[in-house]
Amino acid sequence: MNRLRKCLVWDLDNTLWDGVLLEEPVSVKPEVVDVIKELDSRGILNSIASRGDERLSLSNLEKNNLKELFLVPQINWQPKSQSILKISSELNISLDAIAFIDDDEFELEQISYMLPDVLTFHAEDAKNLPTYPDFSPLEITAEAKERRKLYQAEMQRKTAEENFKSRKEFLISCRMKLTIRPMKEDDITRVLELMTRTHQLNTTGIILTKDEIKNIYQQGADGKNIYVADLEDRFGWYGIVGVAMCEADKVLWRLNYLAISCRVMGRGIEKAILITLVEKAIQNDFKSIEAEFIDTGKNKMMRGLYQMSGFVGEKNESNSDRIKFYAVKNKLARVPEWVQVL
């Protein structure tokens, strides 16, 4: 029941501002704006489901410097349940991670009835929301603080792509810059988040505890056994999108774990990260490159990545879900040309 909410959907008239915009001059409630900004800084997205005139409402939001705080605002004359469904699908956030706030009991009841997974709040309750557990993530990563901007950048990317005639032209135009660096202690929360949330682009599905990650980190010289990949393009910063764990043993370099955020699917980033790590190992004079794979039933993409990138697998006889991959000289794929590795 007390699931953390990822998105709060606001009504406008008499909720965000005092008064009804189509009938009278309205004034934005400063204490509500504070709540919106506070939730935003915690990585909780704000949206709008309101009845009224879209253009007028948006221009009033703009006048008050509030427009950019809201994602995919729905201002129309449809039932609000429809608006919330649309928000859910556009942001790809499930209904049980959405909350709705309105001053009108009828609207609140209707949402509770039509969309029982959506948590509803009365506008009078607005200023208390930041104290509720539903809006209080335990830890706030750098990525969470930027979450709204990440979504906004992603929407710009989608629009931009439509203007390009070829996929490659579009990818090149994005000017992606990938940085692969040893993990720092500050990154552990985000690394943990990636391990827990990533199922498809995950080579083993293993989830470590914070202490286990710390242990591995402290064993490695200067954190050189855990790497993170940070991505940015002309639309903005993606944050840490990948984590790799590796170990070295004389001439052998082994990639034990690789997970990449599903947010960057479709751009060849997983290949760029894998190949960059392998090239680095080869430059450092490792003669034999291995990579571990455990079939989780969900991570066929990663098996495909290895096999399509020049790795050959050898099944483990005692455990058929485990495959040890070897990089084959002269067969190794290249980093996609649209990714600049820094």
Binding site: F170, L171, G304, L305, G310, G313
Partner: protein, 90 residues
Amino acid sequence: MLKEKQMTDIEKNLLAYIQKECLSKNSDSLPGLDDDLFDAGIVDSAGLISFLAFIEKEYHINIPDEDLLPENFKSISAITNYLSSRIYVR
């Protein structure tokens, strides 16, 4: 690129999938039959898995994971050759 009538049904079918699922609405540049789909940014690890699901369903075959290799899946013609070895082409 070959003229449409010179393409096999498999090639036409694979290109139709790419046009619908992998390219943006305004894109008019389909890959050539021998173009590397990965180098062209048309598929990556995620895109390949969706493409495989389409092929398996369309041709009623099961593609074993071991077969996910560049020689089988890097281009339209590679996939066509692979498929031709797996199904009877009418």
